[in-house]
């Protein structure tokens, strides 16, 4: 395989880890390092400049080191998640719905999550409408014209950067946290509510969703929240379900103590005691 991979196949390789086995080991390491490093990289849909603004925006919402001890949106590759969604139909298999049932994170054989479900004509119409917009096509306007996510992101990111350059004389990506808050919060022209709502919600998906979708790289969104993610086919045993975790002993004792105190205080309050009808007579009605 030549070292000059084009952008399309590069993204494909990065996204579909099951295919990585096809590439030589040294090239893989390079690719993965590049994926984490190059801030000027263009995405599947967004050009390099807008990707920079998007990365800065996501990192502002979910900061990582040095502003926060745990990895944030930049480390998790959240902007890549969003870009891959916007560019879903640029890829050979649209990455809309991952497969199932198992991810092989805890064993169980192949990673079915990395094998994308094939969309039928109806699903493709719906998802293209969402992402690309209705573009004046009657078959996409079952409820009238739709502004697509691609357009919402493009204009939203451009507005952020323009407001930043206009009022603070700096690109948005180079602003500090205070400057970014100002552009997002109160400087005129920066905040487009529809864009920010969509982008924040998708930032969360990229931070906390399964890594196959291109975000949550290294599962950093799961490790700092103590979230195991999908856990099949191992799942959990009786003790893990029914008993407190061993490291919670002190908190359990605190809860017990508090329960005793509350019960002692709340003696006169009858509203929490057994059902009035059941107190008076075993059967009602």
């Amino acid at each position: 395989m030549a070292r000059q991979l084009d952008r399309r196949s590069f993204l494909h390789l990065c996204g579909d880890f099951s295919l990585l086995a096809l590439a030589p080991r040294a090239l893989l390491a390079d690719l993965l390092r590049e994926a984490g490093r190059d801030p000027a990289r263009a995405g599947a849909f967004l050009p390099a400049g807008r990707m920079q603004v998007l990365r800065a925006l996501c990192a502002h919402w979910i900061p990582g080191p040095p502003d926060d001890p745990d990895p944030g949106a930049a480390e998790a590759g959240v902007a890549d998640y969003i870009d891959l969604l916007l560019g879903s139909f640029e890829l050979e298999l649209p990455r809309v719905f991952a497969g199932g049932p198992f991810s092989n994170r805890d064993g169980g054989g192949p990673n079915h999550f990395s094998r994308w479900l094939v969309l039928d004509a109806l699903e493709e119409r719906v998802w293209r409408t969402r992402i690309e917009g209705s573009l004046g096509r009657p078959e996409r306007e079952w409820n009238g014209p739709v502004r697509g996510w691609q357009d919402i992101y493009t204009t939203g990111l451009d507005a952020l950067d323009a407001a930043s350059r206009r009022w603070l004389r700096q690109p948005f990506a180079e602003l500090g946290s205070g400057g970014r808050s100002a552009v997002l919060g109160w400087l005129p022209g920066g905040a487009d509510d529809a864009f920010l709502e969509l982008a924040f919600s998708q930032t969360l998906e990229g931070m906390y969703g399964p890594p196959e979708y291109g975000g949550n790289r290294g599962r950093v969104g799961w490790s700092y929240t103590r979230w195991p993610g999908d856990h099949q086919p191992r799942a959990y045993g009786y003790d893990e379900i029914a008993d407190p975790d061993p490291d919670q002993a002190e908190a359990v004792a605190r809860a017990r103590q508090r329960a005793r105190e509350r019960r002692a205080q709340g003696g006169q309050d009858a509203s929490g005691d057994a059902h009035p009808e059941l107190r008076r007579e075993p059967r009602s009605g």
């Binding site: 199932g100 198992f102 054989g109 719906v126 924040f200 969360l204 809860a255 059902h275 009602s284």
Partner: protein, 621 residues
């Protein structure tokens, strides 16, 4: 009856016609049960399902394979499977808005259910309580309530018992009879459960111990979830992706793996991506054909039917009836009474929670594991002050928690958290890992003004008018929610919480469309003896079109105070038995007609490396 011993078409019922061609609309709880009974009885059964099939091996003699379901929160956030409010929205308005002539106040997810093979049972956590005697006799035992159309069901608890038993045996219900409180057994007498209970979840154990000191009997909820291998399906391994997720290992019973699988083995045909647009009737008003849009390309198609079984869920079945208006049925199929779409019930959600000092790891388990049923017992406590003669809450599911992505979105929606606190909140996890949540799903009294009709403007991706929901809570619901919310909050506080709160229905603390999205719905095509006041008879047959049989939750005369699905299945089994073998057989619940589950099948292991994207494509049935 088993395959091989089947009688010829149209076995017991001369009313049905010569060919015995049955078209079932919907493959969820009601449709799958009916399809199975009718296929076993020798009818030619075709199931039309608008969604895709994400199970593998349905109808396959070799047994079920691993499904496509899995713990993928992004897929869920994207409306998979078949819950896409962008493609198939509904609209909502309140009764007051309707009186003021407001067309709608919201367009989007109004209590959507999954549109996929298996219907709502691809996202249930399979809590399967029986209704109580009281649920079927609310009017005669508690009396009327002003502004609500409280009625009795056309049959009683005892009539349903054999059907409950059969459904429970087939589903493989795990429960604990010894731990079930006496007041529950008086209202819903029963024998032992087919399976022992699954492991208790830690949060439920904490709450159980605390509530016991206040006199409440928190006990294991009956669940259609395998606590040991059953029906050729494995034991549940408590992966946690239960409520809202399809079971990744087929440990959970349901419409598809339990009933549709059997129906297809008995000869029923499943057609996916078949969106029904209309039931066509003849000059006498009887159904003759079903029209649908076929495949992803939505090609118009027609199928002839001697009998139509309508089971698309309460909202969608009403919509199909309304879309089927014609000269014989000018206001919609079977709508002489004007009641098609009316008395829509959703259950009333009251949420109470304790933020605990310790982590409760409720992501391990089956979304919730215990019930508290005292709120199902009516009270007259507040009747003097409020003028509402009695208040009834409903089933309380104990111990629930949230998934990670939901938690992240929740902090952003709540007004008292700031985005700058996001990571700190996610680390300490007050509303997920430390949350001891109770959800009460309360009795929702039927009101004529709560209804489904066709939205005059909004369309879905199929080009059809969407269901418009007009819905407001009755005063009973608001008061019952408040009454029990206060009590549940105190119980939460007493469990040793750092912070306890409750979130009653109808006080405007949450957006209306969220508040009604309990995923429980019933009552739009009600059962009853009087054709002027109900849409179907006691066996689900439309008064005005007797060869249209409704078998989903839309036939419920009242909502009940419990998770509805087991009762949907039991009533569907009764109605389908009447259709296949006549009313007398259904009344006597003849055991020989209620079908044995048959020998357990072999569970097919996961085929290594055979599940590529192409293979995962569904909808090719």
């Amino acid at each position: 009856m088993r395959p091989g011993t089947r009688t010829p078409n149209c076995a017991g019922n001369p009313e049905v016609g010569s060919r015995g061609q049955v078209v079932v609309i919907g493959s969820g709880a009601g449709g799958a049960v009916a399809a199975w009974v009718l296929a076993e009885a020798g009818f030619e059964v075709t199931v039309l399902e608008k969604g895709k099939n994400y199970f593998r091996g349905l109808g396959d003699a070799a047994g079920l394979g691993p499904p496509v379901f899995g713990g993928d929160e992004i897929r869920d956030a994207r409306g998979w499977p078949g819950m896409d409010a962008f493609a198939e929205p509904r609209t909502l308005r309140s009764q007051g808005d309707a009186e003021d002539g407001v067309a709608r106040t919201f367009t989007g997810d109004v209590n959507l259910l999954p549109g996929t093979v298996g219907g709502g049972t691809t996202h249930w956590d399979a809590k399967v309580p029986r209704f109580w005697k009281l649920d079927l006799a609310l009017r005669s035992r508690l009396g009327p309530v002003e502004g609500a159309d409280v009625v009795d069901w056309p049959f009683g608890y005892d009539d349903l018992v054999p059907y409950y038993e059969r459904c429970e045996a087939l589903l493989g219900v795990a429960g604990d009879l010894a731990a079930t409180p006496e007041f529950v057994l008086e209202e819903a007498p029963r024998g032992p459960y087919p399976l022992p209970p699954n492991p208790p979840m830690y949060a439920a154990r904490v709450f159980q111990e605390s509530a016991r000191q206040s006199g409440y009997q928190v006990h294991p909820a009956p669940e259609a979830i395998n606590s040991r291998p059953y029906d050729a399906r494995p034991t549940c391994n408590n992966c946690g992706y239960c409520s809202r997720y399809g079971c990744p290992v087929n440990a959970r019973g349901g419409a598809a793996v339990t009933f549709l699988h059997r129906a297809m083995r008995a000869g029923a045909r499943l057609v996916t991506r078949a969106m029904v647009t209309r039931i066509v009737t003849d000059a006498k008003g009887r159904a003759t054909h079903v029209e649908y849009l076929s495949g992803g390309e939505l090609q118009p198609a027609t199928i002839a039917a001697d009998v139509v079984v309508l089971a698309a869920s309460a909202v969608e079945s009403a919509r199909i009836a309304l879309l089927s208006a014609c000269s014989r049925h000018p206001d919609g199929l079977g709508n002489r009474s004007g009641r098609v779409g009316r008395t829509l019930c959703f259950h009333v959600s009251t949420f109470a929670a304790a933020v605990m000092p310790q982590r409760l790891h409720s992501y391990r388990g089956r979304a919730a594991s215990h019930f508290m049923l005292e709120p199902c017992v009516p009270t007259r406590d507040w009747s003097g002050v409020t003028g509402v003669p009695w208040l009834r809450g409903g089933v309380v599911e104990v111990g629930g928690s949230s998934y990670l992505l939901d938690e992240a979105k929740l902090y952003d929606e709540l007004p008292f958290f700031r985005r700058a606190q996001h990571k700190q909140l996610m680390r300490s996890s007050p509303l997920r890992d430390r949350l001891l949540g109770l959800q009460m799903l309360g009795e929702d009294l039927p009101q004529l003004a709560n209804r489904v009709d066709l939205d005059p403007e909004v369309r879905d991706v199929y080009g059809l008018p969407v269901a418009r929901v007009t819905y407001s809570w009755h005063r009973h619901e608001k008061l019952a929610s408040l009454y029990w919310g206060l009590r549940l909050r105190k119980l939460c506080r007493d469990a040793g919480s750092e912070w306890a709160f409750f979130y009653p229905a109808g006080l405007g603390l949450t957006r209306a469309e969220e508040a009604v999205s309990t995923r429980h719905q019933s009552g739009t095509l009600r059962m009853g003896p009087d054709p002027e006041r109900s849409v179907v008879d006691a066996f689900g047959r439309m008064h005005d079109a007797p060869n249209v049989v409704v078998t989903d939750g839309s036939v419920f005369p009242t909502s009940g105070a419990f998770n509805p699905t087991l009762t949907i299945m039991a009533v569907a089994l009764r109605s389908a038995t009447a259709l296949a073998h006549g009313e007398a057989a259904a009344r006597s619940a003849d055991a020989s007609l209620l079908y044995n589950p048959g020998p357990l099948e072999r569970h097919r292991p996961l085929p290594e490396g055979q599940l590529s994207g192409g293979k995962a494509r569904a909808g090719s049935a």
